[in-house]
Symmetry: D2
Subunit: 334 residues, 4 copies
Amino acid sequence: MIIVMSLDSTDMQVNDVVSRLEMEKISYNIEKVGLRTLILLAVNKDRIDEVFLANYPGVESLASSWASLPIIGKNYLEYREYSLKKFNLKEEKPIIIAGPCAVESRDQVFDIAKHIHDKISLFRGGAYKPRTSPYSFQGMGIDALKYLKEVKEEFSVPVVSEVMSQKQLEEAYDYLDVIQIGARNMQNFELLKEVGTQDKAVILKRGLSATIEEWLNAAEYIATRGNENIILCERGIRTFSKDTRNTLDLSSVPIVKSRTHLPVIVDPSHATGYWNLVEPMALAAIAAGADGLMIEVHNAPDKALSDGDQSLKLERFNEIITKVKKLYQLMTTF
Amino acid sequence: MIIVMSLDSTDMQVNDVVSRLEMEKISYNIEKVGLRTLILLAVNKDRIDEVFLANYPGVESLASSWASLPIIGKNYLEYREYSLKKFNLKEEKPIIIAGPCAVESRDQVFDIAKHIHDKISLFRGGAYKPRTSPYSFQGMGIDALKYLKEVKEEFSVPVVSEVMSQKQLEEAYDYLDVIQIGARNMQNFELLKEVGTQDKAVILKRGLSATIEEWLNAAEYIATRGNENIILCERGIRTFSKDTRNTLDLSSVPIVKSRTHLPVIVDPSHATGYWNLVEPMALAAIAAGADGLMIEVHNAPDKALSDGDQSLKLERFNEIITKVKKLYQLMTTF
Amino acid sequence: MIIVMSLDSTDMQVNDVVSRLEMEKISYNIEKVGLRTLILLAVNKDRIDEVFLANYPGVESLASSWASLPIIGKNYLEYREYSLKKFNLKEEKPIIIAGPCAVESRDQVFDIAKHIHDKISLFRGGAYKPRTSPYSFQGMGIDALKYLKEVKEEFSVPVVSEVMSQKQLEEAYDYLDVIQIGARNMQNFELLKEVGTQDKAVILKRGLSATIEEWLNAAEYIATRGNENIILCERGIRTFSKDTRNTLDLSSVPIVKSRTHLPVIVDPSHATGYWNLVEPMALAAIAAGADGLMIEVHNAPDKALSDGDQSLKLERFNEIITKVKKLYQLMTTF
Amino acid sequence: MIIVMSLDSTDMQVNDVVSRLEMEKISYNIEKVGLRTLILLAVNKDRIDEVFLANYPGVESLASSWASLPIIGKNYLEYREYSLKKFNLKEEKPIIIAGPCAVESRDQVFDIAKHIHDKISLFRGGAYKPRTSPYSFQGMGIDALKYLKEVKEEFSVPVVSEVMSQKQLEEAYDYLDVIQIGARNMQNFELLKEVGTQDKAVILKRGLSATIEEWLNAAEYIATRGNENIILCERGIRTFSKDTRNTLDLSSVPIVKSRTHLPVIVDPSHATGYWNLVEPMALAAIAAGADGLMIEVHNAPDKALSDGDQSLKLERFNEIITKVKKLYQLMTTF
């Protein structure tokens, strides 16, 4: 049994809990993980409920074990109804995140944003690109971030981009509303801890061969440092199949939702690698219970500097979003 | 370029085509694969269209190469609208196939059929069970088939069961409306040829680690013997993920539909291995464009002789089908 | 606890065992699986050892559970030293099996056999070929078998070929010394039972995505029918890696050897798909403890009707075998 | 065609090459990637050999394309014979790296080092541990590094440990002879660039689901920054198989050796996850052509804070190394 103290709990509150434990002759250990104080008990949950510990000031929740993910798994049923505002997103569900794979020019992002800004919760565009070869286009860096900020101001839409190191995080911080951790860095534990200490929402993509347990524990790493505004993003896993770039594992959506209160979205663009599979997989994701989508769009996919094959044209994107919203509407009636 | 002659084309018709080819000085090879006559040309499709070969009596279709699957891939756009009657199924879409993993008793199948027969296109129940261990329950065999036939007569619902060898196919033939080839036998080429020579519809499950190309070629094996009434069934693939029994690869649905006119259904029970994942994955399958579902239901899942974890209770099944039909309805408007 | 009765145990012997169990008030169940009589007890092994059941006439061995594979897992330490003669193989270790992927002509197999017959335990050549597409070369069938038999007579080397159905098994039976079950048929349970009833040795290849448990249980299926002369063959598994045709899983060799007394060999040709990887993987297999190798050789790999890329030229094969034997020699000293 | 200029080439030397290109009317592009100057030409290699560019001062080598990995793939045949001294290793082959998974105390590393120091090239011990859960033991950090340095001084054996961020790299730099980049950080491109700028050898482990192309490109990232002292380490990939912790892909050894001159070693401990599989897989690795091994040993595996199951006891390690050296000796005669 683990007692999760709230981020702003005081030493006095911890002491009060501890006094009660001692009175009840329950042995305990205090663990500091990141900013969190967690009190680990040697008894099971039933025993504790009796002593009303959950109602002590400063106690946020009770978890049955480390495996139950004390922070992101806490009381997930009551926490389920997250607010998009908390994530700095526009307040309409489902969450729709879209934009080009890589920012290529000011004109490019403005052209795309002009067409899609009123249909999305968040605009995406890669500034630092993780590329297999050191000789491939590595992203425009700081210039890309500046263009994103201009997009944000011009179209009143929040923006997100991926960072791959503490240095990039510092560089990008002021330009972005949401920080993305990519699949290749899902277990870059030092980076997870860094984004855990700042106060912007984080999109955490599932690693290429990560189990759900590993993915959720990566989110827990972020949460232990104090930042609980995390959106999980399924983007396909690596399997023997060569028919798609990755294999979209939609069963992860209901599994994740049964274990944490965090929202989970799906990226059908990276998951499939082909623009013509984006629509069926976007609809399937919503039907599976996803809270939103991340989709790559481009004003000229055949000239894209990366991932052109999987990028939608602007008109096609609008058609898909119309369908997605109708489907999401139906799902809310189930 | 390949000219696909129809199953009932005559030698005279083949000769007429060949005469024209010789007149046009196009060299050719005649190949007999199973019951089919295929005429292989050394020129590309454009050149042939000029000579109007497609309109010769006895010519069924033209394929660009072996890779385009001359029979099951033929003219897929115009063939797309299949008739359920052709498959001996009840005429309502989506195709819903349900029943227990294994037939365990006459009472069991009657109890299940009574509750679900009016919601399904086809009743399933295993008579011969492919089990990892020779010491596990191997199915009731011929007795199971008799009970299925009684179910069919009592409830006016067609029935399907899996066969694993020519001998079982012969034994089961008279009892069944549809024959199922299981995942482990997807590349049992001799069995594929056998079911290709009989006149009942075949459900062909995707193999545990089969690529889509291998799966479609397995269907083509059946078709070359004359039987083109094939329903493809995605049932999950084997990956590193341990969170589900298999990983449901829903992207196979739109890919298969872009390459063949055959209907494709999804089995969320085997794909996930857990009954509580059946609903979200069933809905996702329909949203991805699947023509139907195969679902395991049981009147007492906790006492099932096999696959109890993934079997739905009867009431839950009915709720899910209601949602599935609403979703299918919405999809037809897209 | 399971008592494994020998294949030739009499009813009287079974009765004697049963009488003793009743005297000891141990409850039991008699199970007939294939030709085997197995007596299942509700007590653990320690308790049984006391009553000396293992020494009763007709009792072959004791197994702790179904999971311990009562037949192929029996007393594996003392059974470890198998005799090649029992498998109809030439008596020299390691087991070397070689020949072309497919028999293509009488000249071809004679040319190959002439060069390699004195270096091998068994000559291989495909008569019936499992091919992804129905339009690929399907093997020469009965003609291939006749050529193999001629090779056997001319060069005094036993021969093996794959069968994919009961019909092919019957057709091929008289021509072959050893029967091969291919990877795609590893869980073709009806075929496993068929080869279990005949009296020739069987090579059982591991399925493309089979766990070791599934593979060993497939062997147990054969053994329950009475045929225990089984050689297991690791040939690579299907993974995300595209660098080789399959991924050779050499750790299966020591794992299999810790669970069964059956010999295990490795096929580096199919496992890698490239002739230049055959030597390093053949040596690695021997170092991992494999009892032998199955290697594809061809007199003209660039003209091979199947698998030319992975076939060795004749001279190269001889060089490799020399190294393999030196390495095997060193391994026997460890 | 790409001209790779040496790290210490001067601007003048680049100019000389460029002048010649202009004289020959060959168009070119100069690319600076990290510390390297690369000159990209629009013609193929044959054409260039004629003009003897390879002999110009400051030209290190010629590569046919980015895919041929201009730096780590350069002239691999002549570079093959690497010097262990260059890597700060003790000069005896094969390379043997061993030590505990995690440094747990001064006593622990001293006890282990005392027993194995004279059999190894490099002593390993984890200071910062990448752990799935934030609640697992995360390593002793700086204290661990101090103990490693003491081991180095006491036993005259160089030491290696893993770093996971730039900050850890800086902290650890002075204590270590060799830096390890773990599997989870194989595509942490910013970290790769960091280790590329310092002057200690780097062990680069293959990612859990990395293709060989991705792995070699990760090494090329390091090399573009100037550090070419890289040892590649195969440690198993993630597949469907649950019989071992990972699946050891030994075919990567000969493939890597055919594409780069860098040494490649194998870690049978992580690859299998079980100490009793370490010996057969260590021998198999050497037989496959590996240049060395990385093995986990522990003085009390059953009390290890991480990876106890896969750690060898000290006596067992010594036995295995004796066999490994005999086998390596045999391999040098092939």
